[in-house]
């Protein structure tokens, strides 16, 4: 076996060098690559098993060998969807949101009341006060019964 490249050394060989170099080459040929001891081979074979045992189950699941990468994208999307739906369904409104909604409703009902009053005046002017009361009072009574906070909101508005 020759050692390629030994001839392109920076300096030229002189005297005994070529002879020594050849002898060195033949000595290198004797130095074979040592076989790794069987104990080391066993240790190296055990590495994948030991490394996987040291990981959590979820990391093992994400190992490319056990789950192709393309599976991960839809799996992740599905998981996010489930979490999103769960959060949407189970979400309880906060106190501030309830208060804001009540305020909005109160404003809306005050418009309805004003509209009712205007309508009453129109009816009164056309049909008289009796008919007006017969139409308006049941509506007002019903609204107050189902939306007890309307009166309260009206008081709050007026204050």
């Amino acid at each position: 076996m020759t050692h390629e490249g030994h001839n392109d050394r920076p300096d030229a060989k002189t005297g005994e060098e070529p002879l020594l170099d050849r002898q060195l080459d033949s000595l290198f040929e004797q130095l074979e690559i040592e076989k790794a001891p069987p104990g080391l081979t066993r240790r190296l074979y055990r590495i994948p098993e030991e490394q996987q045992a040291g990981q959590g189950w979820w990391r093992r699941l994400l190992q490319p060998a056990q789950a192709p990468r393309w599976v991960l994208v839809p799996a992740l999307a599905a998981a996010l969807l489930v979490v999103g739906v769960f959060l949407t369904v189970s979400r309880q409104p906060s106190q501030a949101e309830i208060f804001q909604a009540r305020q909005d409703l109160a404003v809306a009902f005050s418009y309805i009341d004003k509209a009712g009053a205007l309508t009453g005046q129109e009816i009164q002017s056309v049909l008289g006060g009796k008919l007006r009361d017969e139409l308006r009072d049941p509506v007002k009574e019903n609204l107050s019964k189902h939306m007890p906070f309307t009166e309260q909101s009206r008081k709050e508005e007026s204050t």
Binding site: R9, Q23, Q30, L31, I33, K35, A36, L44
Partner: protein, 162 residues
């Protein structure tokens, strides 16, 4: 993945072992260094170009060995190891097979990076490019350093050969 790793073990364990043996001398420590290198290979297998597994592994093995040597010889021992070794000394009437043993000792006596260069290039027959990659040297540096290493070995051989 494990099967591929097993194939890498079969293909490269002897080379990693030989390099570690030359660098560390202590077989138990050489085994540990090899194991560490292969654990790193397992952990980084997705990031390594499959064509570059061998130089990568050789580089990691060598760096691991050098780290161990630094830890093992924090003061004067490490400095002693860094100094040029005179080798095993002249031998009288040595036979050819004994010269083989002598060469092993002489390689062990070389300083870094000469020792790694000789092991990778002359013992393991890696290409110059691969040796340059493992040792993070330029191609011309590899050739110059290898020339120096072999010059040292030649000089020692001239003293001991029959």
């Amino acid at each position: 993945m494990s099967r591929k790793f097993r194939q890498w073990v079969d293909d490269y364990q002897d080379q990693a072992w030989t390099l570690a043996r030359y660098l560390l001398k202590d077989p138990a420590e050489a085994e540990d260094a090899c194991q560490e290198a292969f654990v790193k290979l397992w952990k980084n297998q997705d990031r390594i170009d499959p064509e570059r597994i061998r130089p990568w592994l050789m580089k990691v093995t060598r760096n691991g060995c050098l780290d161990r040597l630094r830890r093992r010889r924090p003061t004067e021992e490490w400095q002693e190891w860094q100094r040029a070794d005179d080798g095993p000394g002249p031998l009288q009437d040595v036979q050819q097979h004994e010269l083989g043993q002598w060469l092993k000792h002489s390689i062990n006596g070389l300083t870094e990076p000469y020792r790694s260069l000789v092991v990778l290039r002359d013992v393991q027959q890696h290409s110059y490019e691969e040796v340059a990659n493992v040792l993070e040297l330029s191609l011309s540096q590899v050739k110059v350093y290898l020339h120096r290493a072999r010059k040292q070995l030649r000089e020692q051989l001239a003293e001991v050969r029959p």
